[in-house]
């Protein structure tokens, strides 16, 4: 296991190095950084002075090393537009995104696995067929349409829930949460459902397919032949054996949820990192884009590592096989 994790760490570092190189090159290829920083009436001398201050005339390699060094310390420079440190901006916005993703992941997992088991065990019943048909809609409809439909129904038509924004937050100084007030929950529920719907249907269909397969195996048949109750057979024996592929998908998708909550955040004007990224793209705010790129890559790498370690915990064959 030690070797396995060591190897994975090495691979992760390589991925991060490549991504950071790409993000570094953004500065040089997407517009001229000096142009973005000085006013239109700056003189040629001022520009040259800034170039030298920023070290833009140094060899490219030493610039990159400096970028890497700063990056490791969490320093991504100042946003062109807001003139504040980028890492502060990201940290400020991260709680909103993380809470949104957390709530939607819980919805997707709980509902997805429950319905997956149900449709796997009771296949062919009226309810299973209905669930599967509805789940097709979840897979095929794009997120923004679902979001807008939910807003129309619950915010505009029924007027039960707010249509956008994040309200009812409580500030701990380092973390602003909206999960402690009724208003906060009212605001988060629609975007969370919107974000979870695709994952939910994916998990549902995956758990169902895996259940159908596992139930055919000999050890399930043997468990039945030993007279174990249906519940023990289905949950203790079958469900755990479906988990390895499910964990993979959940892991990859959680990364995707955080990185690509962009659309949901835009539709609901949710003040998270995704919305920040979209605004940065609009204004060609290169430092934020570069930092976001590195941040998303780091997220995927960490989640993949966690997923690999989870395999070890779930499946003893991997654990002991080394």
């Amino acid at each position: 296991m030690f070797f396995f994790i060591l190897r994975r760490l090495g691979q992760s570092l390589l991925v991060m190095a490549i991504v950071s190189a790409v993000s570094f090159s953004l500065f040089n290829f997407v517009g001229d950084p000096v142009n973005n920083m000085v006013g239109q009436d700056a003189t040629r001398e001022q520009r040259i002075e800034i170039r030298q201050q920023l070290g833009l005339d140094d060899p490219i390699l030493s610039q990159y090393t400096r970028f890497l060094g700063n990056m490791v310390q969490g320093d991504f420079g100042l946003s062109y537009r807001i003139k504040r440190p980028v890492d502060d901006l990201i940290l400020e916005r991260l709680p909103a995104t993380l809470e949104l993703v957390f709530v939607s992941a819980v919805i997707a997992l709980v509902v997805g696995i429950t319905l997956g088991i149900y449709t796997g065990i009771r296949r062919g019943t009226w309810a299973s067929r209905a669930i599967l048909s509805v789940s097709l809609i979840g897979v095929s409809l794009p997120t923004f349409i679902i979001g807008i439909a939910l807003i129309y129904l619950f915010a505009v038509h029924l007027r039960w829930l707010p249509s956008s924004g994040r309200s009812g937050t409580i500030d701990f100084g380092w973390w602003k949460t909206s999960l402690l007030t009724v208003d906060g929950w009212r605001a988060i529920i629609l975007p969370a459902i919107t974000l979870s719907l695709f994952q939910l249907t994916l998990i549902l269909r995956l758990v169902r397919a895996e259940m159908l397969e596992v139930i055919q195996t000999d050890f399930i048949k043997f468990a039945r032949a030993r007279g174990l109750s249906e519940r023990a057979v289905n949950f203790r024996h079958a469900l755990r054996n479906t988990l390895v592929p499910v964990i993979t998908i959940i892991g990859l998708n959680t990364g995707g949820l955080i990185a690509f909550s962009v659309i949901t955040e835009t539709v609901f004007q949710w003040p998270g990192t995704g919305l920040m990224f979209i605004q940065a793209v609009d204004f060609v705010d290169v430092p934020i884009m570069a930092a976001y790129l590195v941040f998303v890559a780091l997220l995927f790498v960490v989640i993949n590592l966690v997923v690999d370690i989870l395999y070890f915990i779930v499946d003893p064959r991997i654990r002991l096989g080394g």
């Binding site: 070797f3 195996t217 000999d218 050890f219 048949k221 043997f222 468990a223 039945r224 032949a225 030993r226 007279g227 174990l228 109750s229 023990a232 203790r236 024996h237 755990r240 054996n241 779930v314 499946d315 003893p316 064959r317 002991l320 096989g321 080394g322």
Partner: protein, 570 residues
């Protein structure tokens, strides 16, 4: 004595969209306490269906449509699911074929035992654990206490089957149904497991039904035998009577098809009763045909030479080489195979026989040693054009006919692949004609070329494999357990086909098997392998009549006793 189980007039049917398929008709069967009943037949004969029907676990949509299953006087067919669940495990235990797949891989053996004990007995917690240890000891597992915390994959196949038996015994049942309990195991392990089943049957006065296709197993353990053919019981009787003087025509030909271990015959006798009606297939004249071209019928030259082959696998990785655990899969193996002969490689699983075959075909490069095919060194520089050319002369037939054919390719493309790869023909039309001839020659007929592998039975698929192996005009065939996944009757026809082809084409064969009677019938020379080493290389008859090495003697002793059969044929 009263009957423990009494099945009368049982019909089982599977309603499908295309009509109802009858899996068993009018089956009568009785089991007394302390008696082992063998249920024998070929695949599809309905033997497993009977086992599943007794325990109430018929695969959907199967159902019992007539008859009764009286278990200690109660009709099991009338009980509902809850009542059946109380009987499963407690009163009737079941053992399945493959110990690799019948245990939950994610739960420790102890947890699986304890959950079963807690369900079937009053014992809880510590008491259940103590009972689990006791059970494991009864089935012959040492250090049972420590083994409770082990996972199934940490046990060997035989040990796992012991765990399965312990699980089946957990509820102290009166009847055990063992569905092919030793088919997936080695001969030596098979003997141990059969002994264990027999012992438990006597000690606990259990009724046992052993479902099997292996006449050897029946001869070893059964007291009475029930022979099934196409869903019907064709004969019931004492083991001595059934094996010694079978009355029904089917039983007679089934027993005749069992490969003889006691003497060598020219051909295998096939189960005519099944084969009846199949027309003799068109054979081609190899002297003039494409297949016969480039064949030298020269004998006496060395076809394969293995020269001090060594290959190790890493068992456990470590940074320091001295901490690594290696296993020597092939340890200084040398032998020569003369052209036109069949060379047998015998040994138990893990002895390295398949690894040797893979080294010869170039699938694994050896750590040390040289492989020469028809005099050409193919292992030192495997990518050279000479080595490639020599390797074309070697083709392989694998054990499992279900996984060795690409399910998404038509038979035509499967067989034509080597021809196209080596560009052996000048036109597509010629390729198609040759594939047709090959399929004719292996007894399938050219018309099957447009079908897919799943449309064929195991034996027919193995014929496709043979046609594919022949397509590159090989001079050496490597057969890795070519018939161990097949029924006795099918085995006989496939082995006869291989023998015919060898004679016609002057092929050299390396024949790998754990089945000693088959080896005796097929081979001229035999090498016995154990733990990666060659124990003994001898002429076939010499080895069987007077084995020199202790291990060879041990293996020969383990062959299921067929005295009953032999006395019958005299």
């Amino acid at each position: 004595m009263t009957d423990l189980l009494q099945i009368t007039g049982l019909d089982v049917e599977f309603p499908t969209r295309r009509g109802t398929i009858s899996a068993a008709q009018n089956v009568h069967l009785t089991v007394k306490p302390g008696e082992v009943v063998g249920l024998v037949g070929e695949s599809g004969a309905g033997k497993s269906t009977i086992g599943n029907a007794i325990i109430g676990l018929l695969e959907s949509p199967g159902r019992v449509s007539a008859g009764s299953i009286l278990f200690e006087g109660d009709d099991l067919c009338l009980k509902d699911e809850t009542a059946m669940r109380a009987i499963r495990g407690n009163r009737i235990g079941m053992i399945f074929q493959d110990p690799q797949t019948s245990l939950n891989p994610l739960m420790t053996v102890g947890a699986q035992l304890v959950e079963t004990i807690e369900k079937t007995e009053a014992a809880r917690g510590k008491a259940a654990e103590a009972r689990a240890i006791e059970l494991l000891e009864q089935v012959g597992i040492t250090e049972a206490k420590a083994r409770l915390r082990a996972y199934p994959h940490q046990f060997s196949g035989g040990m796992r089957q012991r765990v399965v038996i312990a699980l089946a015994l957990a509820g102290d049942p009166d009847l055990i149904i063992a569905d092919e309990p030793t088919t997936a195991l080695d001969v030596s392990i098979q003997a141990q497991i059969l002994d264990l089943i027999k012992r438990l049957c006597r000690e606990r006065d259990l009724g046992v039904i052993i479902v099997t296709h292996d006449i050897g197993v029946i001869a070893n353990v059964a007291d009475r035998v029930v022979v099934m053919y196409r869903g019907e019981v064709v004969e019931t009787g004492d083991v001595a009577q059934i094996l010694g003087s079978p009355r029904h025509e089917y039983t007679q030909s089934l027993i005749a098809a069992v490969p003889r271990a006691d003497c060598k015959l020219e051909r295998f006798s096939s189960v005519d009763y099944i084969e009846g009606g199949t027309k003799p297939f068109k054979r081609i004249d190899v002297q003039t045909h494409w297949l016969g071209k480039a064949q030298s019928h020269a004998r006496g030259e060395t076809a394969i030479e293995a020269d001090h082959l060594n290959l190790s696998f890493v068992l456990q990785k470590a940074v320091l080489p001295r901490n690594r655990k290696m296993i020597k899969a092939v340890d200084d193996v040398s032998f020569k195979v003369t052209q036109g002969q069949t060379f047998g490689l015998v040994g138990e699983s893990g002895s390295g026989k398949s690894t040797v075959a893979r080294i010869i075909t170039g699938l694994y490069p050896p750590d040390a040693g040289v492989v020469r095919v028809l005099g050409q060194d193919v292992s030192s520089n495997p990518k050279s054009s000479e080595a490639r050319k020599a390797r074309r002369a070697v083709q392989m037939i694998f054990q499992d006919p279900y996984s060795s054919l690409n399910a998404r390719m038509k038979v035509m493309d499967i067989v034509a692949e080597p021809i196209r790869f080596y560009r052996l023909t000048s036109s597509e039309g010629e390729t198609r004609k040759i594939v047709g001839d090959l399929l004719d020659h292996v007894g399938l007929g050219a018309q099957v070329a447009t079908r897919y592998p799943h449309e064929f039975s195991g034996g027919q698929r193995q014929r496709i494999s043979i046609a594919r192996a022949l397509a590159s005009r090989p001079r050496i065939l490597i057969c890795d357990e070519p018939t161990s996944a097949l029924d006795v009757s099918v085995q006989a026809t496939i082995l006869n086909l291989l023998k015919d082809l060898q004679q016609e084409l002057g092929l050299t064969m390396l024949f790998i098997s754990h089945d000693l009677p088959v080896i005796r019938q097929m081979c001229d020379q035999i090498a016995v392998m154990r733990n990666g080493q060659l124990c003994e290389v001898a002429e076939a008859e010499a080895l069987f009549n007077a084995p020199k090495h202790d291990y060879s003697r041990h293996l020969l002793d383990l062959m299921p006793r067929m005295d009953l059969l032999e006395s019958a044929s005299e």
